[in-house]
């Protein structure tokens, strides 16, 4: 055992499988035989496009992030191209990179920008998510759909829910019908129902993984590990069966590790959370903090927008049980399927960016769920949605007794503003202020 290590650690078996699946995804988005769409998965929480024979959706976020990660000079060039077309310098890095690539006509490896046939932007408190549709349509003539995500403040309200839920179902229904008409492809309802079942299974695994990370000391998995597989089946869409199998594999391994006290960080002594995505291009800071025995358990973003757990009326914390349609609800028509696929809540339980409560009050619950001692909250200039209410969150967390620091980062698709060395200095100060020293010293 290394110096200072208290628990056994082991490499993760699912790591290589994840690598293989990601490579497959990269290949699939390079394929030209599909109707490629840009945007997000609208408000169906499963891989709906796989129910079409040949539709692929590529999200700007992972693509933009990879551009920054793999080819910094290219990403800068792309953002500049976006800027000269009038988009502000403060635009979200993911979007800036992708829009710039569209203007340049090629991506970071020099190959052509994949031609897109439709766009479905995500309605979001961050206008830059929503602007994805405007940019794509301004660039070339293509259909755009909005799948309205609904927001209201406060507790669940049955009266408000009803019409909102109908509206949501209608939006999803319309998108699928329109796509059939425009692209001449038949949507396969049976396949769709199968996808929904698979997606439900994956959701259950991911909840269990969150729970095991949060409630086990030492944590069997750090968010650094989770992020290496995080997008599989979601932002990086692969074969649905392979997705289910993969997440089962991850769950099994994490469960085994938790039962056998196999730690993600062998000298775990300080647990901290974040809020929303990290600087994808500089995840080194996780490992850096591990030298102090500090483990990052992630953010509400990395745990299904906080929808993986719930605080019950008696104060106990457990896996979230969704309000769903009865399991035996008949799904005979397309509308039935879409209704079940749209969920039983108009406002999603996790509600990433659709529920102000998540941003403020619930971060404290999240920190308590994670048994966290501290929080590392980035603040940045590019992209407004990701850092929304960050300072308020810090206030709530401080009141709850957590040790909180901010650092000046950069939107995860744009590294311009992140001073990496300064961040490490700041982390040293944070750890030492907590009486922790590097185990290597």
């Amino acid at each position: 055992m290394a110096k200072g290590q208290k628990w056994e650690t082991r490499p993760l078996d699912f790591w290589n499988k994840a690598k293989e699946l990601r490579a497959g995804w990269q290949k699939s988005i390079e394929s030209k035989e599909k109707v490629v769409g840009q945007g997000n998965t609208f408000d169906l929480s499963f891989d709906w496009q796989a129910a079409f024979p040949a539709v692929t959706v590529i999200e700007d976020n992972p693509v933009g992030s990879m551009m920054q990660n793999k080819n910094e000079p290219y990403a800068r060039k792309a953002r500049l191209a976006s800027e000269v077309r009038g988009w502000g310098r403060e635009i979200c890095g993911y979007q800036g990179n992708c829009w710039g690539a569209q203007f340049l006509g090629y991506i970071d490896d020099g190959t052509a920008w994949p031609d897109r046939k439709f766009v479905i932007p995500m309605p979001c408190v961050c206008d830059q998510h929503a602007k994805r549709g405007q940019q794509a349509r301004d660039f070339e003539n293509m259909p755009q759909w909005m799948a309205d995500r609904l927001i209201y403040f406060g507790e669940y309200d049955e009266e408000r829910e009803k019409p909102m839920l109908e509206h949501k179902v209608y939006c999803n229904y319309r998108i699928i019908n329109d796509m059939e008409r425009i692209f001449g492809q038949q949507f396969d309802e049976e396949e769709c129902a199968k996808l929904m079942a698979g997606s439900k299974e994956v959701r259950e695994y991911s909840r269990e993984i969150s729970y095991l990370m949060a409630r086990t000391i030492p944590s069997p998995l750090s968010v650094k590990d989770l992020y290496s597989v995080y997008t599989i089946g979601g932002l990086t869409k692969i074969d649905p069966d392979a997705t289910v199998q993969f997440w089962r594999m991850v769950r099994d391994e994490v469960k085994w590790r938790a039962e056998n006290q196999i730690a993600a960080v062998g000298n775990e002594q300080f647990r901290f959370i974040e809020a929303h995505p990290p600087s994808w291009h500089y995840m080194k800071y996780y490992r850096y903090l591990e030298q102090y025995g500090a483990i990052c358990l992630g953010s509400e973003y990395s745990h299904g927008a906080g929808s993986n757990y719930e605080v019950r009326p008696d104060g106990s914390i457990g896996l979230r049980v969704d309000k769903t349609y009865p399991d035996d609800m008949e799904m005979t028509t397309r509308e039935d399927i879409i209704r079940v696929g749209s969920g039983a809540l108009a406002r999603p339980a996790g509600g990433f960016k659709t529920n102000e409560y998540i941003y403020r009050d619930r971060i404290v619950q999240f920190a308590q769920f994670m048994q966290a001692d501290g929080a590392l909250l980035a603040i940045w200039r590019h992209g407004v949605g990701c850092t929304l209410t960050r300072k308020e969150q810090a206030m709530y967390l401080r009141d709850a007794g957590l040790n909180v620091i901010h650092y000046e980062g950069s939107q995860p698709g744009d590294r311009t503003d992140l001073d990496e060395k300064r961040l490490l200095d700041q982390l040293d100060t944070w750890m030492e202020s907590q009486g922790l020293r590097k185990v290597t010293e």
Partner: protein
């Protein structure tokens, strides 16, 4: 027991030799750029000579400051907030907040017993206030102390968000014939406003006993303005410039 503390700042290196808890020797000099390791050694040697001891007599050397890794012979290296807090506790056991305002960085820590409950570093765009005031003094042919003596009601103002803008404002005023002393007052005031923002970034403040140290303390007008703006009465330790080094040496003795 003899220990030493070396605080290698961006602009100046301060070395202190502590003999049974008392400062026996101290020295300060420019950190220098590429020659920093050699300068550090020379400054340390001076402090040793003043204390009348040899390097071999020193049981432990702790380093702090941005250049702490240039002290190759250090037994340990600590971050500034830790050494500053230790230094503050030595002279002011009741300290609740410690501020280290140096050439490059301002760090504020809230102290509760043995713990540092919260700390804040200046934002990146508020870096280098100390260096800036020093360079403006030089530009206006004043000493740092002369610039620091300029306070009183303002007749002009300069930008308080960014020193690059502040410098441009100051030069424009000078070009239009404004009295340099008036511009000096405005510079001290603007830097105090910027520094106060770091203090305000603390969520759970405790201003009962605020100890301030570091090179910026030499500028009296800045300090006075900061007290007024932040609504605090500062406690300044006897050796504000050497405080970080004293804290490091004291922690070395306690280790």
């Amino acid at each position: 027991m003899i220990t030493a503390g070396i605080d290698v700042g961006i602009a100046y290196t301060k070395a202190v030799v502590l003999k049974d808890g008392k400062v026996a020797g101290k020295a300060c000099g420019l950190s220098g750029g590429a020659k920093r390791p050699a300068n550090v050694q020379a400054i340390y040697d001076k402090a040793l000579a003043e204390a009348g001891v040899k390097a071999a007599d020193v049981e432990k050397v702790f380093a702090t400051g941005k250049g702490k890794f240039d002290v190759s012979f250090a037994d340990d290296r600590l971050t500034e907030v830790v050494t500053a807090t230790q230094a503050a506790k030595l002279t002011t056991p009741k300290v609740t907040t410690v501020i280290d305002a140096g050439a490059d960085e301002i760090v504020v820590g809230v102290v509760e017993g043995e713990k540092i409950n919260e700390f804040v570093l200046n934002q990146k765009c508020a870096a280098g206030l100390g260096l800036f005031l020093e360079s403006m003094a030089e530009r206006f042919d004043m000493t740092v102390e002369e610039l620091g003596a300029l306070d009183g009601p303002l007749s002009v103002t300069v930008n308080e968000g960014c020193v690059v803008f502040a410098e441009l404002d100051a030069l424009s005023l000078a070009n239009r014939g404004t009295d340099l002393k008036e511009i000096g007052k405005a510079l001290n005031e603007a830097c105090a406003w910027r520094a106060s923002m770091t203090i305000n970034d603390i969520y759970k403040q405790n201003k009962d006993c605020v100890v301030i140290m570091g090179g910026l303390v030499k500028n009296g007008a800045f300090l006075k303005a900061l007290e007024r703006i932040a609504g605090v009465k500062f406690v300044v330790p006897e050796e504000p410039v050497y405080a970080g080094a004293i804290g490091a040496a004291s922690l070395a003795a306690a280790s």
